[in-house]
């Protein structure tokens, strides 16, 4: 048997989480370094996965399969395709930055020495989330995936509810109440989605007799497994609902701004850049593969919802007063693009959507983390409390601007490539949707530049005057992310090479071909 690379990649952060949690309370710094070490080790393993993966090879590679619960045909089955590899790499890449950025977020409060903030727990939970997310990108067994999909809510719940943003308006009690509201809302939304998915998972088992994604998909493809149209549609809706909550898609989005607003910036990055990607990833992997016909059937409705997400999210971002909530609504808009790309059912759209997941992860991380640095300095999340920051902290303002420009998909930065692919891919099949989505690029410019103008330019506000510029630790976080944004914007080929074959498979799953150019079609 070959080396179980995928299992190890997911196990390393899990082990790291346990060890980090076990560090004695007094050795706080040691726990941080330990967590960082394990996240870096995971990154190395993820790099190994990327290297071992052959783009031209089988659809699922590095597979592992062990019996787990024989009575129900549940297996511990892992395997990655290009999309999984890209997202594993993204996750493994972002976590060290998240840990570094949150270095002091869970320190005990100086003012209230009595209140013990469990530093160890913070970093252990982050690693735990990483382990679960990575394993969910690897799982090819529907039941295994379901368990992970639900289980990752637990550490996330504690991360949101237990470690809130220290910058808040109002009293501590007020903040604690809002935080717990956000955490409970996050949990409830996702639990409801998960429960509906559970029903669909059981339904799938009843129909198919096992949980193996590869087996079911194969049986569906060669006609051995017939599903009644209505059954397929109900099952599809069950799965899709859960993923749409997690993604999040309008109108199931309202948990995200609360959660991202109340959580610390690194946790907010964890939510939107890592955990939410499981939702869109699962749409590509499970919805399209298991229920191709139902996916095609639901496409018009989903495209409308995605368009609403794009425009609605962007408009709401314009109206926000809180920096982090603004970024959250911007993310909703971006998730609209991802879902649009997935369900446009063209190669460009789906490649674009996959690239978008990676690029959005990096760009939001960059923007959100800088915003977090800014907020931690001034102690306020309100846009109105800032002004003229670029005069006192030019590097901070510069990196914030680059993060913002990435969010508005400036050509030359990575998100442009993916956004344009999604737009072209959508336009090729649904011209009106393509044009509506294009208005998103104007609105993105609006909310980003308004944010930048109000916080960074203009006369220097008195409270802002003494803000320090970025520290070396913060630069270590932000510079690699920006370098990556530029690199993937100028030379996205390494990523597209991995993603393209997977998209080809998905396209043949849903039995769709790209529309031919009019000129060729005429000939």
């Amino acid at each position: 048997m070959s080396f179980p690379l995928l299992t190890v990649t997911a196990a390393v952060p899990a082990v790291g989480a346990i060890l980090t949690a076990a560090v004695p309370a007094a050795r706080r710094t040691a726990a941080k370094w330990l967590a960082l070490f394990f996240s870096l080790a995971t990154l190395v393993l993820a790099a190994a996965v990327t290297v071992r993966f052959e783009p031209g090879g089988d659809r699922y590679q590095l597979t592992e399969s062990h019996a787990w619960i024989k009575e129900f045909g549940v297996r511990y089955e892992l395997g990655v395709d290009g999309i999984g590899v890209a997202l594993i790499a993204l996750t493994a890449l972002l976590i060290p930055f998240v840990i570094l950025a949150g270095w002091h977020d869970a320190d005990p409060l100086e003012t209230k020495s009595s209140r013990w903030r469990p530093t160890q727990g913070f970093f252990a939970l982050i690693l735990m989330v990483e382990a679960m997310v990575i394993l969910s990108f690897e799982a090819t067994d529907v039941f295994l995936f379901y368990i992970l999909f639900e289980a990752m809510l637990i550490p996330m719940y504690f991360l949101i509810g237990g470690f809130g943003d220290r910058a808040h308006a109002g009293s501590d009690e007020n903040a604690a109440a809002q935080r717990s509201y956000a955490a409970v809302k996050f949990l409830l939304y996702n639990l409801v989605g998960g429960l509906i998915m559970l029903a669909a998972v059981i339904g799938l088992y009843v129909v198919a007799g096992n949980f193996s994604l590869t087996e079911i998909a194969e049986a569906r493809a060669n006609g051995q497994l017939e599903m009644a149209t209505s059954t397929e549609r109900w099952l599809f809706l069950g799965f899709f609902f859960a993923f749409a909550v997690k993604a999040p898609l309008w109108p199931l989005h309202t948990w995200l701004p609360n959660a991202m607003g109340e959580a610390t910036a690194p946790v907010a990055v964890l939510i939107t850049a890592v955990v939410d990607k499981v939702g869109t990833f699962a749409m590509l992997r499970f919805c399209l593969q298991l229920f191709p016909e139902a996916s095609t059937w639901a496409t018009p409705a989903i495209i409308v919802l995605a368009l609403i997400s794009i425009v609605y999210g962007a408009l709401l971002a314009v109206g926000q007063r809180d920096i982090k909530r603004l970024i959250a609504y911007a993310s909703i808009s971006h998730f609209g693009f991802i879902i649009l790309g997935i369900f446009a059912m063209t190669s460009q759209g789906q490649s674009g959507a996959t690239l978008y997941m990676v690029n959005h992860g990096i760009s939001t991380a960059a923007l959100m983390l800088v915003a977090g640095f800014l907020i931690s300095r001034r102690g306020s999340r309100l846009i109105a409390d800032y002004g003229g920051v670029q005069k006192v902290a030019p590097v901070l303002a510069g990196t914030f601007l680059i993060g913002g420009l990435a969010t508005l998909s400036l050509p030359g930065l990575a998100p442009f490539v993916s956004e344009f692919l999604v737009l072209v891919g959508t336009y090729a099949r649904y011209p009106v949707a393509g044009i509506v989505a294009t208005t998103g690029i104007v609105l993105a410019a609006l909310y980003t530049l308004v944010l930048y103008q109000r916080t960074m330019t203009g006369p220097v506000k008195e409270e802002v005057r003494s803000l320090p510029d970025l520290r070396p630790r913060e630069l270590t976080v932000i510079v690699p992310l920006i370098a990556l944004l530029i690199f993937l914007g100028v030379y996205p080929k390494p990523l597209t090479d991995i993603v393209n074959p997977a998209v080809r498979h998905t396209m043949s799953d849903v039995q769709q071909k790209d529309p031919r150019p009019e000129v060729e079609a005429a000939k």
Binding site: Y189, T254, L405, Y427, T438, T457
Partner: protein
């Protein structure tokens, strides 16, 4: 020369390197930064000259160079390359951009001397050069789009260079947003091309225009026109250009006069094959050009801010170019020719304006100038030559290029031709009027100088003003680094037109790329030329009678309704404010409310009703062991009854 195409990438790379070095280099480059920037801009110009010499060495049909660096976005059914194409049209732009660009770099060394962020300014300027060169060198529309947004970014950064001024930050944001609306047009055009032709490289698209319907080409053309309107400040997306004058003056000269704003003309000329096959789109282009031509000219007449008056003029002159480009093969070459000559004289005029402001405590109100010709002789001379060029004084640059456009407008034929010809002639008269006004207000008449305002109370004042509040200005000639570029540009303003125009030299140079047909105006060329000169003289005379013969009040008189409207950019901004800004604010506010109370409300309502239900159920848990026992017995009884019932059935 062997492998000249390898040099093309260097053209872009040199300023890009400068931008990276200057922006990432940190403070240790503060001392030398401006020279690094200038040197790399000049290096790019030298490479351009080498390539130009190389191009001249080849026959007219073999002059196009291509170079593919690598495959940019390789995705199934989608091919986007980083690839360059250098033909005569691109070459013209390369020389204009790098030539004028280098001069303005040099000028900025002096102009920005006292600004502590000078290094960053040069970094942005280099970034602009790189993006602009990418725009004109790209061999496909997607890469052009990269350059297109790149110059937008550079323009955003430079307009807002003095970010601590709220007006500058707002102007920068406005420019970027309005441009984004135009960019939307470009990206939709690219999508249309992709679905129609399966590619968006210039070559295949422009060759295949015959294979598709006219309706599709019209749609593409209109979308390209939208893009051009955004970038070139044409009606209805013109409103950002006036505000863009918040940027430092060298920026106004380079970006908002000579190069970036002419990108729209480049786009339309480059896509000539599409427009030629879509007469409706062409008509739209011509209409936009004609309307903007008059719009800009009228705005230019009313502004008292010297830079804003020049901005109105820029708008109007680009209107000429767009109009010419909309005329098809009879106009493309003249559009580009006017673009080049305009690049010289308008850049010269802006630099002159900058030089005046430099000497006058950064005062921009022309009503507070006057009699400056004695104090700033070089500025006066160069500005004067630029002035003569722009009004089309016979023999100078503007005369040749503008006259050709007017001829081409008449040659459009039919009623359209007469209307267009009349509009262009009217525009020429107004141009002469407002430029004479600028000239008289600034350099002639009485001194109307005012003490320097207090920056604390006058937020519109440019920073870096050395004068103390209340001090009278001491006009003085600018340093050499500023006057030399002005002199060189004045040289271009005088001779470029003659050099290009006589013997159709420029037309023959461009013809292989843009196609060329001789237009045949319904009246003789000589008659048109004399008409042009005549309206110019009329415009100058009216301005002289109005401003040269009478003392000019320091505060602007109330003016007629038209004047007041023109001062407010013909109410375009008010319209934008009421419809877009206010409307948008209401929309977002109500959406925030909807999100909070409706979308979230439904969910919260569900949660509340579940909570209420559980509250009622809770009452059953009263803590009395007996009531639990009752429910147990009851439950057991029900179960037994059910079992028996099932048996019985």
């Amino acid at each position: 020369m062997e492998n000249a195409e390898n040099l093309i990438a260097l053209l872009v790379a040199a300023p890009l390197l400068g931008a990276v070095v200057l922006l990432c280099g940190g403070r240790r480059l503060d001392k030398a930064g401006h020279w690094i920037g200038t040197l790399l801009a000049a290096a790019s110009f030298v490479i351009g000259l080498v390539l130009f010499a190389d191009m001249l060495g080849r026959g007219a049909e073999e002059r196009t160079l291509r170079s593919t660096l690598y495959s940019w976005i390789p995705v199934e059914g989608f091919q986007a390359d980083i690839a360059f194409q250098l033909d005569q049209l691109s070459m013209t732009f390369v020389l204009l951009i790098t030539g004028v660009g280098s001069l303005i770099h040099l000028y900025s060394v002096g102009y920005m001397e006292h600004d502590e962020r000078r290094r960053r300014f040069f970094g942005y300027l280099n970034l602009f050069l790189a993006a602009m060169l990418l725009l004109v060198l790209a061999d496909n529309y997607l890469l052009l789009y990269v350059g297109w947004e790149g110059v937008g970014l550079a323009s955003y950064l430079l307009i807002g260079f003095w970010q601590h001024k709220p007006s500058a930050a707002t102007a920068a944001k406005k420019a970027f947003l309005v441009n984004r609306v135009g960019d939307m047009g470009l990206s939709i055009a690219i999508m249309l091309m992709f679905t129609t032709f399966g590619t968006f490289a210039f070559g295949p698209v422009l060759e295949a225009t015959g294979d598709t319907s006219e309706g599709m080409l019209t749609a593409i053309g209109l979308m390209l026109l939208l893009a051009a309107c955004g970038k070139s400040a044409q009606v209805p997306l013109q409103s950002w250009l006036g505000d863009a004058m918040e940027g430092p003056t060298p920026v106004s000269a380079l970006i908002h006069a000579a190069t970036m704003v002419t990108a729209g003309v480049y786009l339309i000329t480059r896509s000539g094959a599409i427009f030629n096959a879509a007469p409706d789109a062409q008509l739209a282009v011509v209409v936009v050009g004609a309307v903007t031509l008059l719009f800009g000219a009228i705005v230019g007449c009313a502004k008292d801010d010297i830079k804003k008056a020049l901005a109105g003029s820029t708008m109007s002159q680009i209107g000429y170019m767009i109009l010419a480009a909309g005329l098809g093969p009879i106009g493309y070459a003249f559009a580009i020719m006017h673009l080049v000559t305009h690049g010289f004289f308008k850049a010269g005029l802006f630099l002159g304006a900058g030089s005046v402001m430099h000497g006058m405590n950064d005062e921009v109100d022309m009503r507070k100038y006057g009699a400056l010709r004695k104090y700033m002789p070089i500025t006066f001379a160069t500005f004067g030559l630029g002035y003569l060029a722009i009004i089309g004084f016979p023999g100078l640059s503007g005369f040749f290029s503008k006259d050709k456009i007017i001829e081409a407008a008449f040659a459009k034929g039919g009623t359209e031709g007469w209307i267009l010809g009349a509009v262009t002639l009217l525009g020429a008269a107004i141009t002469a009027y407002y430029m004479t006004r600028v000239m008289i207000l600034t350099f002639f008449g009485e001194k109307r100088w005012q003490p320097a305002p207090d920056p604390a109370t006058a937020p519109g004042v440019e920073p870096g003003v050395e004068a103390k509040p209340g001090e009278m200005p001491h006009p003085h000639e600018s340093p050499k680094s500023m006057t030399i570029p002005m002199i060189l540009l004045a040289f271009g303003s005088v001779f470029a037109g003659g050099f290009f125009g006589i013997g159709d030299r420029f037309v023959n140079w461009l013809a292989p790329v843009t196609e060329f047909e001789h237009g045949h105006p319904p009246i003789g060329a000589a008659a048109i030329t004399s008409a042009t000169v005549a309206v110019m003289v009329i415009g100058v005379s009216i301005a002289y009678l109005q401003y040269g013969r009478r003392p000019v009040p320091v505060t602007a008189p109330r003016g007629s309704l038209l004047t007041r409207a023109a001062r407010r950019d013909l109410l375009q901004d008010d319209f934008n404010h009421i419809v877009l800004v206010r409307g948008g604010e209401h929309l977002t506010r109500s959406l925030v409310y909807v999100d909070h109370s409706l979308v979230d409300g439904v969910v919260n309502g569900t949660a509340a009703s579940v909570g209420g239900l559980s509250g009622r159920l809770r009452k059953l848990q009263n803590g009395y062991a007996r009531s639990y026992a009752v429910s147990m017995f009851g439950g057991t009884a029900v179960l037994i009854a059910a079992t028996l019932l099932m048996r019985a059935v």
